[in-house]
């Protein structure tokens, strides 16, 4: 008796994504289904050490990044570190913060792939992604709008409202990311 050859990679994807569908385009749902059911993601998910290690690294990297962002936001809000220049705090935080974000995104993508379909159907995951996007846009807005003129208000006792709003948006977004990240696990 001949077994059907086991399809892996793109062939397996096509088999799942297009099965029983009249449309020629795969849906996001079907892509997520394929991602979650690849041999690779199941191996990672069921690994007793690798999965906890990746999840732990995701949270530890988040702690470093968000911790450094907190220092900068507190300075922008003039709640702490008032004697230090914003430009200096920002410059000093940027490098390590980016390393933290890099690890967080890399491990986050692996975690997503292992549970892609569950995550796609989870409202807290969707909100988390929106908040990450909002935090990114907020940082880009700050860089574009306020960074070039920072010398003018850096050590002023009354900095413009804009940078302070950016700091509040940043804190709210990252607190929301943490909250949604924690809560989504309860709906898996």
């Amino acid at each position: 008796m001949h077994d059907r050859p086991r399809l892996v990679g793109p062939a397996h994807f096509c088999q799942i994504a297009f099965s029983g569908q009249r449309t020629s385009m795969p849906t996001i749902q079907s892509i997520c289904h394929w991602l979650q059911h690849t041999e690779w993601s199941q191996d990672v998910l069921q690994s007793s050490l690798l999965f906890p290690f990746i999840e732990g690294s995701h949270i530890m990297a988040l702690a470093i990044s968000v911790g450094l962002v907190l220092i900068l936001d507190l300075r922008l809000l003039r709640i702490a570190f008032r004697g230090e220049r914003v430009a200096v705090v920002m410059k000093q935080s940027a490098g390590l913060s980016m390393i933290g974000f890099g690890i967080m995104f890399l491990t986050g993508i692996i975690l997503f792939v292992t549970q892609a379909e569950k995550a796609y159907n989870n409202r807290f995951f969707v909100i988390k992604m929106i908040l990450i996007l909002a935090a990114g846009l907020n940082a880009a807005w700050y860089q574009w709008k306020y960074y070039p003129s920072m010398d003018e208000w850096d050590q002023s006792e009354n900095p413009p409202l804009g940078p302070r709003i950016c700091a509040i948006v940043s804190l709210v977004c990252w607190a929301g990311v943490i909250g949604c990240g924690r809560t989504m696990a309860y709906e898996f």
């Binding site: 530890m60 702690a63 968000v66 911790g67 702490a80 909250g179 309860y186």
Partner: protein, 164 residues
């Protein structure tokens, strides 16, 4: 006279029968909300600990004066720790037996106790009188122990969900 076992039994009974804790235990978003506060505290603790150690070791924040910068970061570390402990205790209360039986939780509590003791004695002294020149071997050891202990607490916390 109440024995230690009697006290623990009474405490457990109170935890499982308290109406407030029942609401927290049985509401879908109750525990995740408190865990979020716990995590926000942990992020602050680990983030500020990293920043303080980077500055102590001259690996980061070099352009900021250690004398003024470090005590301020220390203040936020304490605030983060306060939030972590309060929220963590509220997460523990609704189901104390499950946590008490978890080996990772027990290890976490032990490491946490050592970390707090280390941070508020030896480490605190370094933060409030940082070495002026390049870090000494003593500073390197103090910082390394601090990082290992606090991130160890974090890893043990994650282990609760995966290992018994």
């Amino acid at each position: 006279m109440l024995s230690l076992h009697g006290l623990i039994d009474s405490f457990n009974q109170w935890c499982y029968q308290s109406p407030v804790l029942s609401v927290l235990r049985d509401t879908k978003l109750g525990i995740p909300a408190v865990q979020t506060a716990h995590l926000l505290g942990i992020m602050t603790v680990l983030g500020t600990t990293t920043v303080m150690n980077l500055r102590l070791l001259n690996l980061g924040y070099r352009e900021l004066s250690a004398d003024t910068f470090l005590p301020q970061v220390w203040t936020w570390f304490r605030r983060g720790l306060f939030l972590t402990l309060i929220a963590g205790f509220i997460v523990f209360l609704p189901d104390p037996v499950r946590y008490a039986q978890n080996t990772s939780f027990r290890v976490k509590m032990a490491v946490l106790a050592i970390a707090i003791a280390w941070q508020f004695t030896i480490f605190r002294k370094q933060v409030h009188s940082p070495p002026s020149a390049s870090p000494t071997a003593k500073t390197v050891v103090i910082s390394a122990v601090s990082m290992i202990l606090w991130f160890g607490v974090g890893w043990c916390g994650r282990a609760i969900a995966f290992f018994g």
